[in-house]
């Protein structure tokens, strides 16, 4: 038994040592500037060997802790490298003259100052807010009506639910091109030979239409779940008391699904705010605005997410784009917090 344990200890120590040596060697090669292709695999094998050594180490007392560390490591590591580090770097970069690769100096708030002097950006913020508000109202209203329809006991409810949900399966890029075809080639006869996409205002309406088409089916499903969870006996009691369909709807169904309304509003809010794919594929932000605060703009349908993307990628102003993105993050955080606050209050009152 004892000998067995000693052997195990030796094996674990060998793994730990091999892992550590590989790690140090590969990191050393990195810092020494060696271009050897082996250093990547060496690093990975080193990490695995090190964890294998830890795992094999024969300790009753700490084994559980070691397992916890090994279990947490993969997700925390990927999460840290893809979310936390870029977030912190990004906030830092927004105060510099970052070019996407390097920066030479800190410039304080000048990126933030210059973006507020840019009428095109302010215009993007405004239309994004209009878009979000319109969609919160329209998507929720339409989705709720669809949910009522799909729970009214008509035949083929399952088919209706599935077909209304179907657009949600398709990615925004493909959707955008399909609808571009619809607006430019199919509906053009109905709109008098002029495509809806050719004018800024009607193009924004077109994006709203496509967004509702894509998203209302999904929100409808959530409302359907909410509505089917309203207890049957409560509805029966209301019927016995002589409540008509509308009274039942407004006095019983809607108050009872208040939490569902919160969820749906929140989902629509964040998703509409981040709208990018459809915007890019449908109009790519184009559209003329003759006079906005005394300026001519050519980004009549460019919402915030697309504006950030174009600032950085198309115009190559990474620092400015990053500053806009930080503002985007702050707005989204504030709006979501307010939204959750308001909804929580309402639920308590009801």
């Amino acid at each position: 038994m004892n000998q067995n344990k000693a052997q195990k200890k030796l094996l674990a120590a060998a793994f730990l040592a091999a892992g550590a040596i590989l790690l140090i060697a590969s990191l050393g090669m990195d810092f020494a500037g060696s271009g050897s292709a082996m250093r990547g695999p060496m690093l990975i094998i080193g990490i695995i060997a090190f964890f294998a050594g830890l795992y094999l180490f024969p300790t009753e007392k700490h084994h559980r802790k070691i397992v916890y560390i090994i279990f947490l490591f993969p997700l925390l590591f990927t999460f840290g490298v893809t979310v936390i580090i870029p977030l912190l770097l990004g906030i830092g970069y927004s105060f510099t003259d970052w070019t996407g690769i390097r920066f030479t100096q800190f410039v304080g708030f000048s990126n933030y100052a210059s973006m507020f002097k840019d009428p095109a950006f302010i215009y993007s913020i405004l239309i994004t807010f209009v878009f979000v508000v319109m969609n919160i109202i329209l998507v929720n209203l339409i989705a709720f009506l669809l949910a009522l329809l799909c729970t009214s006991g008509i035949k083929g409810q399952g088919f209706f639910r599935a077909s209304y949900f179907l657009p949600n399966l398709i990615g925004g890029i493909v959707l955008g091109y399909i609808w571009q075809f619809v607006f430019n080639n199919v509906l053009i006869n109905m709109t008098g030979g002029i495509s809806l996409l050719s004018k800024s205002k009607s193009a924004m309406m077109a994006i709203v239409v496509v967004y509702i088409w894509q998203y209302a089916g999904y929100i409808m499903l959530i409302y359907v779940t909410g509505l089917t969870q309203v207890p049957k006996d409560v509805l029966e009691a209301a019927q016995i008391d002589g409540a008509n369909a509308l009274e039942t709807l407004f006095n019983i169904k809607i108050p009872m699904i208040a939490s569902t309304v919160t969820i749906c509003t929140f989902l629509t809010l964040t998703s509409a705010f981040k709208q990018f794919d459809v915007n890019m594929a449908l109009t790519n932000g184009a559209g003329s605005v003759p006079n906005f605060m005394g300026n001519y703009l050519s980004n009549g349908t460019q919402m915030l997410a697309l504006n950030i993307y174009n600032t950085a990628i198309a115009k190559n102003s990474y620092a400015l784009g990053q500053a806009k993105a930080v503002l985007f993050f702050i707005i989204l955080a504030i709006v979501s917090l307010i939204q959750v606050r308001i909804s929580n209050k309402k639920e308590v009152e009801m």
């Binding site: 695999p41 279990f71 580090i85 890029i173 493909v174 989902l267």
Partner: protein, 288 residues
Amino acid sequence: MKSARNTKTIILTIVGVLIAVYVLFPFYLVVMNSFKNQASIVASPVSLAGASLSQLMSNLDKVINNSNFQFWYAFGTSAIVTIISLVLLALFGGMAAWVISRNNKKMWATVIYMIFIASMIIPFQVVMLPLISTFRDVGKFVGISMLQSVPGIVFAYCGFGGAMTVFILTGFIKGIPYELEEAAAIDGCSPEGTFFRIIFPLLTPVITTVTILNGMWIWNDYLLPSLMLGQNGKVKTLPVAVQAFVGSYVKQWDLILTAALLAIIPMIIIFIVAQKQIMSGMVEGAIK
């Protein structure tokens, strides 16, 4: 009374059918126009005039073998990226969620959990630019390309999908009685054995939910792969390939719509097969 009810049902059914026609109409246009050539699409985009099977074959041939689109290659890349990311997210997410929920009284676990929750509000836009430069630097540092590579993109999806996965899985694991694990421990089962033999199999329903949510997002995602892989890079996922293809064939609707058809079909097939699971998974993911 009964006839009034009948009329109401009939009216509602008609309304339902009309909405379904409206919702499905763009799909009809895509399918039907894939059977036509450019001239007859422009002349009559709605009618069946000019549609033929041989035209569909010719369109498919042109699209699939197009050097900008490379359908099979893009499809394969998308499938590999999605499947590996989903497997890793389920595995790593389950492992992390189990550790977090079994230590939920400890400070460090609570902090990790709160960071995950808070991070769900972070929009992709605020991390996307530094993400590219970080991945470029990490890739150079370890000598493995993180951009323009499938492993790099899988890594990114594990990072971005981690928070939601852990959030949903932790909620579920908290509901699994701890006695189950104690019994296993008394029987001499190691902690890792307890997780893989007892807890992980119990997670099947919630892992289905998580996999559907993550799968829909990863398969359809455009922005992350387009930034990481580049518009005209060697490695392409399906959405990136569609964008590159359409960009090079402006207004060539016969080819664009056929490409759209090819991009849609896999999702539709999966939806038809697993309709119930997908619809309930999407709802459960949202409610939690």
